[in-house]
C-alpha cells in the first residue's frame, strides 16, 4: 500500500499532499487539546509499532505481499488525530530513509494510511462497540474496526492507482504513470485485503485493545471520548 514514486501523476499527488497537510494542521491543534503529557511515551511507542508492523510483509502464496498498518489500534487507544501524527511519522521515515513509498507520494500514502484509515477505524469501533466495556463486544468491534479500515484504505489506494490511465496517457495510448485502470486495481487490492491482510489487521487490533482493556482501560481514548465518562 506504499505507493512508489512515478505511479501517481502530479494532478493526483499534489491535491493529496494538500489534504494531508491540512489534516495535519487540524490534528496538531486537536492533539494539543486532547492528549495529556503522560501519554507522550505511548505515542512514541505507537509510531514505532506502526513502523515495525509494516515490515512484516506477509505473502499470498505465489502472489503478492502485504502487511498490517497498525492505524486502527492506535486510533482506538489514542484517538484518530494522534494516530494520524504517529503513523505519518512512521510513513515519512520509511519513505525518506528506506525508500518504502515514494517522496512524491508521501502526501498520498499519509492520507491513505494515516488520515483516512484511523478515522474509519475509530468511528467503526465507536459504532459497533457503542460504549460497551464487555470483553467480547470490545474484541469484536476492534476486529471489525481493523478489518474494515484496512480494506477501505486499500480500496482508496486502488482508486488513486486506477484513475491514472484516465488522467494521463501518451498519444499512442500508453500510460504515463500507473498503467492499470480501476477495473484491475480495485479487485486486485480489495480481494487480497478482504481475504487476508484485513483479517491480520483485525486480529492485531482486537488483541492489543483487549490487552489494554484488561490492564489499563482508563487509557483507551475511545472509551473516554463521547461516553458517559467524558469529563472524568
Amino acid at each position: 500500500m506504499h505507493i512508489p514514486d512515478g505511479y501517481l501523476s502530479p494532478q493526483t499527488y499534489i491535491p493529496l499532499f494538500g489534504l494531508f497537510v491540512t489534516a495535519t494542521a487540524i490534528g496538531v491543534k486537536k492533539v494539543k487539546k486532547d492528549i495529556s503529557a503522560r501519554n507522550i511515551p505511548y505515542l512514541g511507542m505507537a509510531a514505532v509499532f506502526s513502523f515495525i508492523i509494516m515490515m512484516f510483509n506477509l505473502p499470498i502464496p505465489g502472489g503478492t505481499t502485504g502487511h498490517a498498518v497498525g492505524s486502527a489500534v492506535i486510533a482506538i487507544l489514542f484517538g484518530p488525530w494522534a494516530a494520524m501524527i504517529a503513523v505519518s511519522v512512521a510513513l515519512i521515515i520509511q519513505a525518506l530513509i528506506f525508500g518504502d513509498g515514494g517522496i512524491t507520494a508521501i502526501g498520498a500514502n499519509c492520507f491513505n494510511m494515516a488520515v483516512f484509515m484511523p478515522f474509519v477505524a475509530y468511528y467503526t469501533f465507536k459504532l459497533f462497540n457503542n460504549n460497551s466495556s464487555k470483553k467480547r463486544r470490545v474484541n469484536f468491534s476492534a476486529f471489525i474496526s481493523g478489518y474494515l479500515s484496512l480494506v477501505l484504505a486499500s480500496v482508496l489506494t486502488a482508486v488513486e492507482f486506477g484513475i491514472q490511465p484516465l488522467i494521463a496517457s501518451t498519444a499512442d495510448g500508453r500510460a504515463l504513470y500507473c498503467p492499470y485502470d480501476l477495473s484491475i486495481a480495485i479487485p486486485a487490492m480489495a480481494i487480497e485485503h478482504l481475504l487476508f491482510f484485513g483479517i491480520i489487521e483485525g486480529i492485531i487490533t482486537a488483541f492489543i485493545v483487549g490487552y489494554f482493556l484488561r490492564n489499563d482501560p482508563g487509557m483507551i481514548y475511545a472509551f473516554r471520548k463521547g461516553g458517559k465518562d467524558e469529563n472524568r
Partner: protein
Amino acid sequence: MLSEKEVKMRIDKQQKKILVVLLLLCLITPVGIILPIFMNAGNAWGEWSAQTLKDLIGYVPQGLAKYSHVWKAPMADYTINTGARSVVHQSGFYIVSGIFGATLTYVVMLLISKLIVKNEE
C-alpha cells in the same frame, strides 16, 4: 485507591514491557522477508520497480521513468548492502534497519509530541 507514586510505577512497568515487546518484534522482522521468499510471493501490488513493470506490461511508462529516480533512499529496501544475497545476510540487515528505523521513529515522535502537547495533567 492507588497512590500517585504507585500509579506512576505501574505506568513505568507497563511502558517497559511494551518497549521489550517492540524490541522483540524488531528481532523477528526477518519473518517479513523469509516468508515471502518461502511462499514464492513477489512485490506488493502496485509497488513494482520500473524494470519489473517493464516485464509485466512491455514498457516503462514515461512519467514513471521520470519520477522513479527522484529520490535515492540511503537504506532502500531496508538494507545497506544490496549485494548480499543470502537470506541470513538479508535478515541481519533487515533487523539492523528495523532497530535503526524504530529508534529514529521513536525519537522523532517524542520530539514532535513534546512540541505539541502542553497539557501537563
